[in-house]
Symmetry: C2
Subunit: 385 residues, 2 copies
Amino acid sequence: MEEVWVAGAAMNRFGKMAVSGREAASQVSLEAIERSGLRPKDIGYTFVSNAFGVAERQAHVGPLVNSALGIPEVPSVTVESACSSSSAALHEAFVHVAGGFLDAALVVGVEKLSHLDTLAATSYFAMGADYAFESRNGATFPGLYATLATAHMHRYGTRAEELGAVAVKNHLNASHNPHAHFQKPISMETYLNSPPVSWPLRLYDCCPFSDGAAAVVVVNPKRFRSDLTEVPAAIRASARAGSIAALQDRNDLTTLPASTLAGERAFRMAGVDRSVVDLLEVHDCFTVAEVLALEDLGFYPPGEAARAGAEGETAVDGKLPVNPSGGLKAKGHPVSATGAAQVVEIFEQFNGRAAGRQVSDPEWALAHNVGATGGSCSVHLFQRV
Amino acid sequence: MEEVWVAGAAMNRFGKMAVSGREAASQVSLEAIERSGLRPKDIGYTFVSNAFGVAERQAHVGPLVNSALGIPEVPSVTVESACSSSSAALHEAFVHVAGGFLDAALVVGVEKLSHLDTLAATSYFAMGADYAFESRNGATFPGLYATLATAHMHRYGTRAEELGAVAVKNHLNASHNPHAHFQKPISMETYLNSPPVSWPLRLYDCCPFSDGAAAVVVVNPKRFRSDLTEVPAAIRASARAGSIAALQDRNDLTTLPASTLAGERAFRMAGVDRSVVDLLEVHDCFTVAEVLALEDLGFYPPGEAARAGAEGETAVDGKLPVNPSGGLKAKGHPVSATGAAQVVEIFEQFNGRAAGRQVSDPEWALAHNVGATGGSCSVHLFQRV
């Protein structure tokens, strides 16, 4: 198996994009390639994620991005796995390069839904759930994650203030991230006074609707090492797993089985223990999702992550920094850009460019990206080279 | 590189599906797995194509299919490349197995648009084109392929009767295919008298809107050879290429550059010459597309495929059988099922189960699948084992 390194990464400011998805995807792709030291013609394959491109009446985005990069002859494909789309795309790129089929690949995720009203945008998001058993009956993601939160509170006594601590931390981190959708810290009082969206989840438990784009360049160092201009991030593991999509069919609502399985596979593949990890970017579409992630990935025993977070352990200067970027919660969650944006943050952290939210000298980082309520999950482990 | 074999394949009757896309995808997947001799738990990854699943309000189809198969923990991903989606998915499966990352993978493509009116369905199809420069200005695929047909007629003198010969042949072939959407032969008179859709293309130049699903199981024979119950098809080449999406930006409208490039890559990869090929399934969304495919893939010099077809060379009993299944033209074209369905036909031909349209003792076959007007193209070469 060939080594696979992240050689470049870039994203735009998440929030509301004035440009189209194809334009944003092309811009961040060009930026990621330029940063890496490669040229567009070095790219052998483009993996695009754009789950809801139909909202812009555009599928088949790869040829448009490649044409904008001046490499229209390069093959491309669009990869979708709900909110874990661009980490699934990264997995495909990893397999191509690790298997020796390619020396360099571009992964780019983009989503633009801000031109729709909130109901239409929510409806698009809900297509990631099980239509027949969930969405058709009115269950959208705030309600589904509220169900998970309720079960967690019931079993472990998780408190509102502990979920609020996730929101307060991630908003603080985002306030130091120039690419984040939200750039203002919030207080616990603001959190507690925010209106309910779906009980027990309040407004500030929920990630926003964001537009955005993020791109990652992966290479085989055998071919490109001497060209690289940034500190690379070696991909030591790229693992995915699935689980039953509909919550009604699960045995246990206090865990996402796909996270546990993908995490186990990733650590086995990398041959390292959880103790090496210096920072995590995890899938916190709702505050409770960050808690579940840390427990499912084995960083905390079930029922203990929320308390640990509230005690400061997951802060940038804590013993296990989680979501220094601000996470989906405050950096924003443009569905198909999220997985790639997690890698952008890790790349920035490895390159020491995360002023105000910089984790001290990180060597290992984990990215955890969930599709829907865990029908899919990707876990990647990165080591600074 | 590991060998990769197609071990099982299945499709439903193309046309109008009463069941949902997820149900159809699950049914054909189960059938393909059962035919192969494997069990669902042998599958290590599921690659789904369902470009316009949003028309059923359902993205993230993989976990639903895997749950129906009883393997919810298996990772899945949805792969889109417009009309070449499931051949792009097959390419991903090929890379995973050839690279040694998996021993068995499921590829399944499904599309259901028949519950929409024709305008809505055409609008979905058109999302595969370049929205900014084509679809937004009213150009849908009949018009775009009519532009290609006009250019081909102008340069090479291609005649209506020669395009009609493609339609007549493919309807005849489909009349022997129990899975085909259309099962009646048509006469040249019927073709010539059919109303114009977009000049010079008549109604019978155009593939229908079809629902459908098709699935393919690929394996590493090192692991599964002794389990197999059908005659396998070894994948000797899996190649893809791109080109500028919008026709307005092309230098030449009498060729799809991505077809030429993917074809060259495929023959180089397999290390064989075009002369070994016993049958082809090519992308004939419109009659002119079959002509372009045969020229771009190098089976005929530019300007000569239409005449050769009219003289019977591409008939099932001709010297180069093309689209014995009936092709997209008459078998039907459920966008994301098409690439997989081409493989189903090749598998049936290798297994001697194509009564009425059976090519005599085929050993090598080529599948050619185009995304949109050639922004993407996949070419696969198969050898009977």
